[in-house]
């Protein structure tokens, strides 16, 4: 009993919060601002609990496992969700059914936690569904907006499609090997045609979740239509978790198929970053822009994963941590501007620095981190991804990746230019920054500056991965 409590503390804490929220909502005792404050405090506690009483082990006859690695991964996700609760305060204040939104969000998070701890394809599939379906509801949460509903439909359809493909892949795996446990599969997989086919189906499902080109088509529309908080959740939390699981599946279960997935990942990484970068160049809508930038980032993640090494895995773990801070800060500024002025085009950010220096510097810092410009942590994260990816690859591959870095700088600078250099016809008014957002943004700043300059963070990640 005690072991259950300790090993599953992440999941139990989330479940407890979900129940608390539901009861309060049903009772109608606390509403509005106070509710938000309560949620923020609960999530803060939740994040703190995640760091305490760390223990390794497995449960339910090996269906569920906790290790230092999964604890770390879950803590990153917890931190990300906490930041979301803080950073999007203005939107939550406007949101009518805020408690429901958090219940959905936490359910999805719960699914992601189980996903990270799963050691079995059945568990894996169940938690993946738990992590996908609430998100579709979150996407369509901008209730009056047509675009939001449309995005919700796109999301649920593509998620269902991905699930179907995944299930088919799982059934093929079972048919070929007679087992669905990761440990046993590792010994049984080989490059027979049936298994390669099964792998391709599983890969496609991950392709949808991670928005790897050519499975990325839903991404931009969903990010654009969804509320900013949901888009942030999708791009940071959900994507990060799936990247973690992807590594486990590839390195553990499908290791014998490395000859198949290595060239596949090399090709897809380049195509993904190229498509993401090229489409990001011409975007006008901020959320759409961030969607394509996040697609491009996945290309870099794939490059590191392709190396099949501890270095690659730890580079991804590190990158996601940095990405949480950088991308959430960028989304937060977009959310602030949207909530207060209703503007969402990059052109509307012209002259932002004149009226909102704090938000402008935050946005610039976040974008520099995403672009990989030092001293922001994104520089280190990107460089480690590239170095890991370069271990086996040819010079041409590395050159193409490096040129993509230049390409991505171009569109990030476009926004910096709009914010700092361009003159606006009617400049934005000064946006009041609630204290929670300020705290969140300062945490992001500290994260962006310190996770890079302090080498110990990376050391720890290498030690556990």
């Amino acid at each position: 009993m005690n072991e259950l409590l300790l090993l599953m503390k992440h999941e139990l804490a989330i479940t407890a919060i979900i129940f608390i929220l539901l009861f309060i909502k049903i009772g109608g005792w606390i509403t509005g601002q106070k509710m938000l404050l309560l949620i923020q405090v609960l999530l803060l506690l939740n994040t703190a609990i995640g760091f305490m009483w760390v223990q390794e082990g497995s449960l339910f006859g090996g269906l569920y496992k906790t290790s230092l690695l999964t604890v770390y991964q879950k803590n990153i996700l917890n931190l990300g969700v906490l930041l979301i609760a803080f950073l999007f305060t203005p939107w939550f204040k406007q949101c009518v059914n805020m408690a429901e939104f958090f219940v959905l969000l936490l359910s999805a998070l719960l699914g992601l936690f189980f996903l990270l701890s799963s050691t079995n394809l059945l568990m894996f599939y169940l938690s993946l569904e738990l992590a996908s379906i609430p998100v579709a509801a979150m996407v369509s949460f901008q209730l009056p907006g047509k675009a939001s509903a449309e995005a919700g439909v796109k999301m649920i359809l593509s998620a269902a499609f991905a699930s179907g493909i995944l299930l088919f892949g799982i059934s093929l795996v079972y048919g070929a090997t007679g087992t669905i446990a990761f440990d046993e599969l590792a010994a049984l997989t080989n490059t027979s045609n049936l298994q390669v086919l099964a792998f391709v189906f599983l890969f496609a499902a991950f392709g949808f979740k991670l928005s790897i080109v050519p499975f990325h088509l839903w991404t931009a529309d969903v990010y654009q239509g969804a509320p900013v908080a949901t888009a942030a959740f999708l791009s940071v939390i959900s994507k990060g978790a799936f990247a973690f699981v992807f590594i486990t599946i590839l390195y553990k279960v499908f290791l014998p198929l490395q000859a198949v997935w290595y060239p596949l990942l090399l090709a897809l990484s380049i195509i993904t970053m190229l498509v993401g970068n090229l489409f990001a160049l011409r975007q006008q809508n901020m959320q759409r822009f961030l969607a394509f930038s996040s697609i491009a980032q996945v290309g870099f993640i794939l490059a590191a994963i392709s190396s099949n090494s501890v270095a690659g895995a730890s580079a991804v773990l590190y990158f996601v941590l940095v990405y949480v801070f950088s991308n959430l800060a960028a989304f937060a500024v977009a959310g602030m501007v949207l909530a207060h002025t209703g503007r969402k085009d990059i052109g509307d950010y012209k002259g932002l620095y004149q009226s909102n220096p704090f938000l402008s510097w935050m946005l610039a810092l976040a974008l520099f981190s995403l672009a990989g410009v030092p001293p922001a942590a994104g520089f280190f994260a990107k460089l480690f991804l590239i170095t890991a990816g370069a271990q086996k690859a040819s010079y041409w591959y590395v050159i193409i990746i490096a040129l993509n870095l230049v390409l991505s700088l171009y569109y990030y600078l476009r926004i910096v230019r709009a914010v700092f250099m361009d003159k606006a016809q009617e400049p934005m008014a000064a946006i009041p920054i609630p204290v929670q957002v300020k705290i969140g943004l300062i945490v992001c700043t500290i994260g962006i500056m310190m996770t890079g300059l302090l080498g110990q963070v990376y050391d720890y990640i290498v030690a556990i991965s």
């Binding site: 230049v406 700088l409 250099m421 361009d422 050391d459």
Partner: protein, 498 residues
């Protein structure tokens, strides 16, 4: 001597600038920071000479090493040799002068000085790093401040120029990155970014032949290697005065230093293989830059194009691979840095008063601004290589060193490059003559001469020019032991191949 101070002082200065309120306080804090750094760099020079005189024969001295990312073999490793010390002194001179000439910047003063100091931080860090990763880190730290400085405080097509500069420099860093990774994975058993460790390893010739062009082109973009020089005219002419000074005086030198320290020093076999290509490109840049300068009507464009020509000499010296030529290349970096910074400073002063940079619209300014025009004469004469000023010493050393290479190819390259001196004389004398002499337009009659801060900046840089021009011995004795070590490495390689 603790080299970390060179990074810490700009960092503290930047923090202090961020904390203080009024523009006047910002200026004073920036000035104080630059002054301390200036004193520190001379302290470094003294300490370096003492250590060498005391018989310290390590390649790099004052080394410090701290683990940073041990799993990648990355450590924060700093240390200096004579070349680095020379570059640090150059940087200190230009930062000091840059802070002084920007005294009247009123638009977002705080941000301006903050970026200026951050830019200098990148340069100092770059010159002292002995780990390729750290070097690359500082190289990129310096890119974004340049972008913002040009884009916000610049003039003309500033956004275009800023973007072009940032992207081309980023392209340079991308190539450097690939070359760096090539060395990291190709150098041997234990993977390391450490420059000292890499210099001791025998990097396979095949790796060298791939990495050298990548690294040289990458760093070359920073120093206006033909055909990657196109960012220079736009970037320099659009930047604010201090920005131009930093760009031409410091930033372009990052590239030259990188070419020498990383590409040539670590990859001698690659340097041997590609030396001739470098010479051809450098000769083209020298001549093309000089002729393009002749056509310019705008003083800033003129100096920007002449920078391409002058930095070509740096690359020519590096490509020649003789000890004298390498020494000359370093001296040319220092000399050009000081000279061109002074030139840009003077152009800035002229522009502030006349509100034009067109040569044709000026005239007779000697009468109202004797100080400024005198300084202009000095820089111009230095640029065209008058003996007694720094340009002559540096270029002469390069030519002498280049002539040491037997073979008609090298002789031809020297002769072609020499021709640029005549062209330089033509455009410099014509421009200066037009600006300073002749009838004074009526609207300029009430203009005033330099203020104290401008005088201080000009005198500072002029002192640098004269110090190299009249007594080049100190610089030569500082640099040549370091270039001798590089040459030893290069000669050892060719012996190994034969």
């Amino acid at each position: 001597m603790n080299l970390l101070l060179l990074i810490l002082i700009p960092l503290v200065t930047a923090l202090a600038i961020w904390l203080v309120r009024t523009p006047q306080q910002v200026r004073l804090v920036a000035f104080a920071g630059a002054a301390v750094q200036f004193a520190l760099s001379f302290g470094l020079l003294g300490a370096y000479r003492l250590a060498r005189a005391g018989g310290n024969s390590q390649v790099f001295i004052f080394q410090q090493q701290y683990q940073w990312f041990p799993s990648w073999g990355i450590s924060f490793h700093v240390g200096v040799d004579g070349i680095a010390v020379a570059m640090i002194i150059l940087t200190a001179f230009i930062v000091m002068a840059g802070v002084l000439v920007s005294w009247t910047v009123t638009k977002m003063t705080k941000e301006f000085y903050l970026l200026l100091i951050l830019l200098s931080l990148g340069a100092y860090g770059f010159f002292i790093s002995l780990d390729l990763f750290v070097l690359f880190f500082f190289l990129e730290v310096a890119v974004i401040p340049k972008y913002l400085l040009i884009g916000i405080w610049g003039s003309g097509k500033k956004e275009y120029a800023a973007g072009k500069l940032a992207l081309m420099l980023m392209l340079g860093s991308a190539l450097v990155l690939v070359g760096m990774l090539g060395m990291y994975f190709g150098s041997g058993a234990d993977k390391t970014f450490n420059l000292v460790a890499l210099s001791g390893q025998a990097i396979p010739a095949t790796v060298q032949q791939i990495c050298f062009p990548l690294l040289f082109a990458g760093f070359g973009i920073f120093t206006a290697l033909f055909p990657f020089h196109t960012w220079v005219p736009d970037g320099h002419s659009s930047a604010p005065t201090a920005g131009s000074m930093f760009l031409a005086g410091i930033s372009m030198k990052l590239g030259g230093y990188g070419c020498l320290r990383v590409a040539v020093y670590l990859l001698p076999a690659g340097a041997k293989a590609y030396g001739d290509v470098v010479i051809v490109l450098a000769a083209i840049a020298i001549l093309y830059g000089a002729f393009a300068t002749m056509l310019q009507r705008d003083l800033k464009y003129m100096n920007a194009y002449s920078s391409i020509s002058h930095c070509g000499f740096v690359l020519l010296g590096i490509g020649m691979l003789t000890q004298t030529a390498l020494t000359g290349a370093v001296m040319q970096m220092v000399s050009h840095g000081v000279m061109t910074a002074l030139f840009f400073a003077v152009i800035g002063m002229l522009y502030q008063r006349t509100h034009t940079r067109q040569i044709n619209e000026m005239g007779g300014l000697m009468r109202v601004m004797p100080f400024i025009t005198t300084v202009l004469f000095f820089t111009g004469l230095c640029s065209l290589g008058l003996p007694g000023l720094s340009g002559f010493v540096a270029e002469m050393t390069i030519f002498t060193g280049s002539w040491q290479n037997p073979g008609s190819f090298y002789r031809a390259a020297v002769i072609v490059s020499c021709m640029s001196i005549v062209v330089t004389a033509v455009y410099i004398l014509r421009a200066i003559g037009k600006v300073a002499m002749g009838p004074l337009p009526k609207q300029f009659e009430l203009l005033t001469d330099a203020a104290w801060y401008e005088k201080a900046a000009a005198v500072l840089l002029l002192a640098g020019i004269l110090a190299i021009g009249l007594a080049p011995g100190w610089l030569n004795s500082l640099v040549s032991p370091a270039t001798e070590l590089i040459m030893q490495k290069i000669n050892a390689t060719s012996a190994g191949i034969k």
